[in-house]
């Protein structure tokens, strides 16, 4: 019995299923092959015209056959595909997932195509855009659009499809959302509320307006000429992140639950840590204290020391600010050992999948543990001398990996870290 409890007497949480979709492809196998071969999924945008936009590339997922296309429809398709893979791998019966859903989903709004369509439907008695749309809505209810743009819709659809239990939680902690979804699942299992939890992060929201919004904040790379080279975490000439799409899904279970049903254990979710920052809406505290606290809390929660961390799956967005801040904070936690711990950023290849990033990187962390192989950070040809870390580059590195730290940070002072350990 006690072998099912962790160092703090809580139920041990394990991963029994993983699934992923990114611009590199569908499924863990295809993504892992390409991630370890150093392939980029970033390309010029073809989904919509980019004339007049400062950034014209992204890691869009263009192979999902979503019709009609919209951010919530694509976000659902991505989440469903990743979840199906995770649930299949866990060996959980179709449509009857024995626990709650925690879904990191992008905040979605009505899109321009819908506004124009409602405007075209409007009576001529109104002239202003919103008055026209409201008149059109009064005349001809559009339950389809209402449901499409409810923030709870994607979670509702995943719940319906996979039969998760109870009120699903849709959440956002900006670019840390995927990690927060995992954390909520861990907490529910540790409370004994459930033996299993489905934790998913999804984002299919690359469109003109979202691109413009990040552009106006000067957050995006504008190195459009060679899209595959634009995302260059920890490089001296990095100039912003590259927006991308994808989904990651994890089936978490208590060790007891997993053993009882004879499930294959992929990894142990050893610990989570978070800390909010009150410094600024988009920038981190200059002293890094909230990130430092989040990493330290994750290590304490996991019951591991910095010496036990074999590799770090970095947040590594390729923005000037993030990568420097991440290094400074890790240096504070790891001391000089930070120069020797292999670190990598999956975002160099798949871009920044925003809401989904933490979940996708959690999936990659599990694969790293299982394969003993650390995917490279591509485009690391011009290292930033102010970030002296052992950035895995060139090709994937073989290493015995027993423990991985995965970092996720977001606008609004969000910092969340996860620690994964190898299955015993």
């Amino acid at each position: 019995m006690s072998s099912h409890l962790d160092h703090l007497g809580r139920p041990i949480v394990v991963v029994t299923g993983i699934g992923v979709v990114s611009s590199l492809g569908r499924g863990c196998a295809e993504n892992w092959t390409k991630l370890t071969a150093g392939e980029s999924g970033i390309h010029s945008i073809s989904r919509f015209p980019t004339d007049g936009l400062r950034t014209t590339m992204a890691g869009t997922v263009d192979f999902m056959d979503v019709e009609p296309m919209s951010a919530p429809a694509l976000s659902f398709a991505l989440a469903k595909t990743a979840t199906q893979e995770a649930v299949d791998q866990a060996g959980i019966s179709a449509g009857d997932f024995p626990g709650p859903l925690f879904l990191a989903a992008p905040p979605v709004e009505m899109e321009w195509q819908h506004r124009f369509a409602l405007n075209a439907d409007a009576p001529d008695s109104e002239s202003e855009g919103y008055k026209r749309m409201l008149a059109a809505a009064r005349e001809k209810k559009r339950q389809d659009l209402f449901e499409l743009f409810q923030f709870g819709t994607t979670a509702d659809q995943i719940t319906e499809t996979f039969g998760t239990k109870g009120l699903p939680i849709s959440l956002s902690t900006a670019c840390a959302s995927g990690a927060t979804a995992v954390q909520l699942g861990v907490e529910a299992i540790r409370r004994g509320d459930t033996g299993a939890a489905l934790c998913v992060g999804t984002d299919g929201s690359v469109m003109t307006e979202s691109l413009v919004r990040f552009s106006l904040l000067s957050a995006l790379s504008t190195q459009n000429e060679e899209p595959s080279k634009a995302s260059k975490p920890f490089s001296k000439d990095r100039d912003g992140f590259v927006m991308a799409e994808g989904a990651g899904a994890l089936v978490l279970e208590s060790l007891e639950n997993a053993k009882a049903r004879g499930a294959n254990i992929l990894a142990v979710l050893k610990g989570c840590g978070e800390k909010a920052d009150h410094f600024h809406r988009t920038r981190s505290s200059p002293d890094g204290s909230p990130v430092i606290a989040a990493v330290n809390r994750a290590l304490e929660d996991a019951g591991v020391t910095v010496d036990e961390i074999d590799t770090i799956n970095a947040h590594g967005t390729s923005t000037p600010e993030n990568d420097r801040m991440e290094y400074n904070s890790l240096h504070a936690v790891f001391g000089d050992r930070i120069h020797d711990v292999p670190i990598t950023s999956n975002k160099s290849m798949i871009g920044h999948t925003l809401t989904a990033a933490g979940a996708i990187e959690a999936v990659v962390s599990v694969m790293t543990l299982r394969e003993g192989l650390i995917p490279p950070t591509i485009n690391y040809t011009n290292p930033d001398p102010d970030i002296p870390m052992d950035v895995v580059h060139g090709e994937a590195r073989s290493a015995p990996v027993k423990t991985v730290l995965s970092n996720s940070f977001g606008f609004g002072g969000q910092n969340a870290c996860l620690v994964f350990g190898a299955a015993e």
Binding site: T50, G152, T180, T208, L216, R281, G412
Partner: protein
């Protein structure tokens, strides 16, 4: 922290802002009076909304931070400050480890920019060309930060220094239900000692009216018909501007710092699913049983005024006395369940609506999905405020 032990969860701070103004006394009295507040159609004809009774924002938010926020964030940040002040003198060490869950939708769009783009296209402009030309030039760069769902929590961290943790739940009414339920679960299991939880909603927005009109859930009446009687053109809800935050705390933690409570949040149960036939009523009945809401315990409903949903709720609540908070304050989506829970706590502290009640329930049925109930219990004299 084993799954067996459950700690009592107390409500030790409340912050409210709505058409009734701010603070517990104003809201307790408004609920007791039962009359719709703040009704206006100005700018929204033919819709009627419950407009905010604006506070002196500077009491909680500095001028520089104010400029960074849109109304929904101001409401939430202001009210979070009220709840924190109510729970304790500001103590940075406490705020540094205080956990937070915010129920949020998205922020206001720039209606003028949107209208200009739609107008350009109506005049014959190519939609894609107009969008690509207008958005980069016309959108305010920082508007995005006033729209992102998690930036209400972000502003609360910045303005009030709540930084133990920060999570934002989305999903309309269900976000408020999950937020209260998760906060309760974390404290009762020992995963957290003290949490700030709640939501904020600006009901004076055409983009929100549009979203809900598409689903045919808005009332087309003048807002004077109580939620309990809405039928025909009155069926549905009037949006209301509301901020509702609570400080939840374990009894041990409250005792150790000498904090008194409005009441105990005894149980919170939430559900989800389709609504065909009796499915909704059946699930709600199950939640009422699971929460141990006695047969004569009065209930504050945060329901919507949609007749079918109201009937399902009524059948689950049976003969219990029910008051609909939406009649007075309007419907505030993510903030509506936190509002009902906060009002129930105020009523336990000093009854004005349900004479001498020692337990009060709160119920919620989202306009499209999600349902929840909560049970609150009076605490013994020495622990009460």
């Amino acid at each position: 922290m084993s799954s067996g032990e459950r700690k009592p969860v107390l409500i030790t701070g409340i912050g409210l802002l709505s058409a009734a103004g701010e603070g517990g006394d104003a809201h307790r009295a408004a609920l007791a009076a039962g009359k719709p507040l703040g009704l206006t159609s100005e700018g929204f004809v033919p819709y009627t909304v419950h407009a905010l009774n604006e506070p002196d924002w500077s009491a909680q938010i500095g001028r520089r931070d104010m400029r960074q926020m849109e109304p929904w964030q101001r409401i939430g940040t202001y009210v979070a400050g009220l709840a924190l002040d109510d729970a304790s003198p500001r103590d940075n060490r406490l705020l540094d480890r205080m956990d937070m869950i915010v129920a949020a939708g998205g922020g206001e769009r720039d209606i003028e920019v949107d209208n200009t783009i739609m107008d350009d296209v109506r005049q014959g402009g190519d939609p894609e060309v107009v969008v690509n030309e207008r958005l980069p030039n016309d959108l305010r760069p920082t508007l995005f930060l006033a729209q992102l769902s998690n930036l209400l929590a972000g502003n609360i961290s910045i303005v009030h220094k709540v930084t133990g943790s920060s999570r934002t739940f989305m999903g309309e009414e269900g976000a408020g239900m999950s937020a209260i339920a998760t906060a309760h679960a974390r404290i009762s299991s020992g995963q957290s000692d003290i949490m700030l939880v709640g939501g904020a909603f600006n009901g004076e927005r055409e983009d929100m009216l549009l979203l809900f009109e598409l689903g045919n859930v808005l009332s087309h009446g003048d807002g004077t018909v109580p939620v309990s009687q809405r039928e025909g053109k009155d069926a549905g809800f009037h949006l209301g501007s509301v901020g509702a935050f609570l400080v939840l705390e374990s009894a041990d933690h409250a005792k150790a710092r000498g904090a008194n409570a409005y009441g105990e949040l005894t149980a919170v149960k939430a559900g989800h699913g389709g609504r065909d036939g009796s499915a909704l009523a059946d699930r709600l009945s199950g939640l009422v049983v699971d929460s141990n809401i006695g047969a004569d315990v009065p209930v504050l409903s945060s329901g919507t005024g949609l007749p079918d949903l109201r009937k399902a709720e009524q059948s689950a609540l049976g003969d219990r006395p029910v008051r609909h908070v939406g009649t007075v304050f309007g419907h505030s989506v993510e903030a509506q369940f936190p509002l009902a829970v906060a009002l129930a706590a105020l009523e336990l502290q000093r009854s004005a609506t349900f004479d001498g009640a020692t337990q009060i329930g709160a119920s919620a049925v989202g306009s499209w999905r999600s349902e929840a109930v909560a049970l609150l219990t009076k605490v013994k004299e020495g622990d009460a405020r």
